[in-house]
């Protein structure tokens, strides 16, 4: 696989307040370096993760979406992460059919003490997405600049 040169992926992260956000904090306090590709959003629990957010992020320029929760069995809200497992699994099955590679949407676990593991997750995902290349969903599939091969169609709806 190629590393796609200078391409720097943008990964939108959703971190649960209790484990993974703290793992990211710990990676910080321990000064563990990882690529600046991740831009994270704090949610209370991975069980809050709404599939629409993943779709929205992918459509609007993210090259990948990372959700990190507490380890199964360790959820602060007892079993929110089990719901995340179910929703992300079904979402990924659906996205696969829509042509979004598995590596672009990942669910991982990191306890509050796993700063190292958190940094590794970001590193690995960055490398995987770099290998896949930019997603560019909006330009390629919504605005149709790539897929709409029929030139005649363009001026019609551009003019609307």
């Amino acid at each position: 696989m190629s590393d796609n040169g200078d391409f720097k992926p943008v990964i939108v992260g959703f971190l649960c307040n209790w484990c993974s956000y703290r793992a990211a904090d710990l990676a910080g306090t321990s000064r563990m370096g990882y690529p600046s590709t991740l831009r994270d959003i704090r949610i209370m629990c991975s069980g809050r993760m709404d599939p629409a957010w993943v779709l929205h992020a992918l459509r609007n320029g993210a090259d990948g979406v990372l959700v990190v929760g507490c380890h199964p069995g360790e959820c602060h809200y007892v079993e929110g992460n089990y719901k995340a497992i179910r929703r992300m699994n079904l979402l990924k099955r659906t996205l696969r059919q829509l042509g979004i590679e598995d590596e672009r949407v990942q669910l991982h676990w990191a306890s509050a003490s796993e700063g190292v593991q958190f940094a590794e997750i970001v590193q690995n995902m960055t490398a995987q997405i770099k290998a896949l290349g930019p997603l560019n969903w909006k330009q390629r599939n919504v605005d149709d600049s790539v897929n709409l091969a029929v030139a005649a169609g363009e001026h019609v709806h551009e003019g609307a």
Partner: protein, 671 residues
């Protein structure tokens, strides 16, 4: 929304942020974001001057929203919410962007990337904050009674602290007596104090304290409510003994014809009767009938205890009692179980008679134990001439428990000392590392070296009775590599003691579930913060003390018990607690009653209202995780402070530069 006036503050945090992130560029860039009224950068936002800057702007510029980009919200969210509140702005109209832990500290080698990311995070906060709504915390009074679950030394310490401070305590203990594992021990390291001598007075105090209600032979069945207002359902198992009549004279167990191995107090090394008091100093002093073993419950005959009881205290028909208790806080001190050494077959426990576990050995050396404190082989008569003590049994072993049990090195040294002192036998310690990190511990190790105890550095590969030649006949042979020599050794001994580690209670996870807290990978309860808040848990009002939170020795357990009590006293003295307003709410008018959310809530906060065919959230029970919000297929459940729209806006903000690189724009702005 369009009229919001947002103030943005970028913190330098000295060099911590400004050394990596170009804070000036970020502030300048943020000024052009939609709705931003003012964008500043400042050296230390958390300082009183930094906070005043925010307060001043709210007052003079009429800010309606505030964004501070600084450290983790876990560090200073509360600080800046306070600043907003002081200036008359609802504290929930504030949002924090974490550009220290999540940017400058992790991207120190990539200043450009760190700056770019800081901009994205600030933009996310700005986009999000305009969707915030004012929220009010809910204040609820605190019930001053505390429940302590577990009557070992951790629970005893916590209960006494609270009771002495003048508050009621309900102590729940599963066994017939309080005392826990400490009551089984003979001597305690490193001082070699007699365990009973220091524990018994405390047990007595618990039993006699006017502020303590002691529920022994009892288990928690259900927990409802929230901090300050829990209702805990406790099942008091039937002792089959009327405690009001019983004098603890002991006639019943003397007369009882059924003898069974005592797996709990005697760790399987001794016997008790079917009606028994676990040990002489038990608190309370009343016996219980073990209905599994008692002849009466099998055949309807015998009744020896009843016939001989001078006070007619035996009641074969006594039933369990289930009672609800209202408490404000709970301290879990449920302790540990010893690692089952049978799980390591190569050490032969259960197969080779003279392999003992450490708890068996504790009972053996205890003056009140089955051998009266004499160290002897399983035959009960032969004194060993050589003893091997194997460290790290079931600990530091990925096949079982990865963690170090923290106490085995020290108690193994204690055993070695006791063997030397009482038998003069040759003692070998087989260890990977000797860990003695506390007051007086290393000195104790040195004392053992002086006493001539032998130390072999090597984890034992196996214990066998298969002799290779005459020198090994009739012995247990320890086979290991002496790693300091680099050679295999076979050392014949008479007795082997396995220093088995500590494990979470087998039902720790269920207990955690009852109280709404979780266990870590190793099975111990998770504390709120491993360093700064080791007594509290993520569930308000639930505290942990002792080994149930992680392996520790008696001094650390006592300290944590007292610490947990102090944390509870703090809550009680405030009189009321504020509940975070982060909760879910269902728009009943548009709820279609599909009931998909009904099974989502781990706290059973969602009720289905049959007559209206809609679901409803009980705000007092809701903890705000949002899993029902995410589940709602018609999107009519709103999660306060983490709403769908707020996060959507945050995504828009976080991706603002993807089509137009921020760095390029920053250059333009800087020009």
């Amino acid at each position: 929304m369009a009229e919001e006036r947002v103030g943005v503050y970028i913190c330098h945090c000295g060099h911590n942020i400004a050394g990596t992130v170009d804070v000036e560029a970020v502030a300048e860039w943020a000024a052009d974001l939609p709705n931003v009224e003012v964008s500043r950068h400042y050296e230390f936002m958390c300082s009183s001057l930094g906070q005043e800057l925010v307060e001043e702007d709210i007052k003079t510029l009429g800010l309606t929203r505030v964004v501070v980009a600084a450290c983790s919200p876990h560090m200073h969210e509360r600080t800046f919410r306070g600043a907003c509140e002081r200036a008359g702005l609802n504290p929930y109209l504030f949002e924090m962007a974490n550009i220290r832990e999540h940017a400058s500290w992790v991207h120190a080698v990539d200043k450009e990337g760190a700056t770019e990311k800081a901009k994205a995070l600030v933009s996310a906060a700005v986009h999000r904050v305009v969707h915030h709504t004012p929220l009010e915390t809910m204040k609820v009074p605190v019930e001053p009674t505390t429940m302590v679950v577990g009557g070992g030394i951790a629970g005893i310490q916590a209960a006494l602290e609270l009771a002495d401070a003048g508050y009621k305590v309900i102590m729940v203990e599963r066994e017939p007596s309080i005392g826990g594992h400490m009551a089984q021990l003979d001597k305690t390291f490193p001082t070699l104090d007699c365990s009973a001598c220091i524990l018994t007075p405390k047990m007595f105090d618990v039993g006699a304290h006017p502020n303590i209600t002691m529920l022994t032979y009892s288990e928690v069945e259900a927990v409802e409510g929230y901090v300050g207002n829990f209702v805990v359902t406790v099942r008091q198992k039937a002792r089959k003994v009327i405690t009001d009549k019983c004098t603890g004279c002991g006639t019943c167990w003397e007369k009882c014809p059924i003898r069974v191995v005592d797996d709990v107090y005697e760790a399987g090394l001794g016997y008790r009767k079917a009606i028994y008091r676990p040990f002489p100093q038990a608190v309370p002093k009343y016996p219980v009938i073990d209905v599994e073993s008692c002849t009466y419950y099998k055949t309807g005959k015998c009744r020896a205890c009843q016939m001989f009881c001078p006070t007619e205290a035996i009641d074969f028909d006594q039933q369990d009692e289930v009672v609800d208790y209202k408490v404000g806080n709970v301290i879990l001190a449920t302790g540990y179980e010893q690692f089952d050494a049978r799980r390591i077959p190569e050490y032969g426990y259960g197969r080779l008679a003279n392999v003992f576990t450490s708890l068996e050995f504790e009972r053996m050396v205890n003056a009140t134990g089955p051998t009266g404190g004499k160290i002897m082989l399983r035959d009960g008569v032969t004194e060993p001439e050589s003893v091997a003590i194997i460290h790290c049994v079931g600990s530091r072993d990925r096949r079982y428990n990865q963690y170090c049990s923290a106490v085995c090195c020290m108690y193994s040294l204690k055993f070695a000392h006791l063997v030397k002192e009482r038998t003069g036998a040759e003692v070998y310690n087989f260890y990977m590392d000797i860990r003695t990190p506390a007051k007086g511990y290393e000195e104790f190790y040195h004392r053992l070296l002086e006493e001539g105890v032998r130390f072999v550095r090597g984890r034992v590969a196996k214990v066998t009775d298969a002799a290779r030649g005459p020198g090994e006949e009739g012995k247990l042979i320890i086979q290991c590599e002496d790693t300091l020599i680099g050679k295999q050794r076979r050392i014949p001994v008479d007795m082997v003691v396995l220093s088995a580690g500590m494990e979470p209670r087998h039902d720790a996870e269920e207990i955690g579930h009852l109280f709404g807290i979780s266990c870590s990978v190793d099975g111990f309860f998770i504390e709120r913060h491993p360093k700064l808040d080791p007594m509290a848990t993520m569930t308000d009002g639930i505290y942990v003390a002792g080994v149930c939170q992680g392996p520790k020795d008696i001094p650390a357990t006592v300290a944590q018990g007292a610490g947990a009590a102090a944390r509870v006293l703090g809550v009680i003295s405030q009189g009321e607690v504020a509940l975070e307003p982060i909760r879910a709410e269902i728009d009943e008018e548009h709820c279609s009653g599909c009931r998909i959310c009904n099974t989502m809530c781990p706290y059973s906060a969602i009720d289905y209202i049959e007559e209206l065919q809609v679901s409803r959230v009980n705000p007092a029970l809701c903890k705000g995780c949002g899993t029902c919000v995410a589940a709602c297929p018609s999107q009519v459940i709103t999660g306060a402070h983490y709403s769908y729209d707020q996060v959507m806006a945050q995504i828009d903000g976080i991706l603002i530069d993807v089509n137009r690189p921020v760095t390029a724009e920053a250059e333009v702005a800087a020009d």
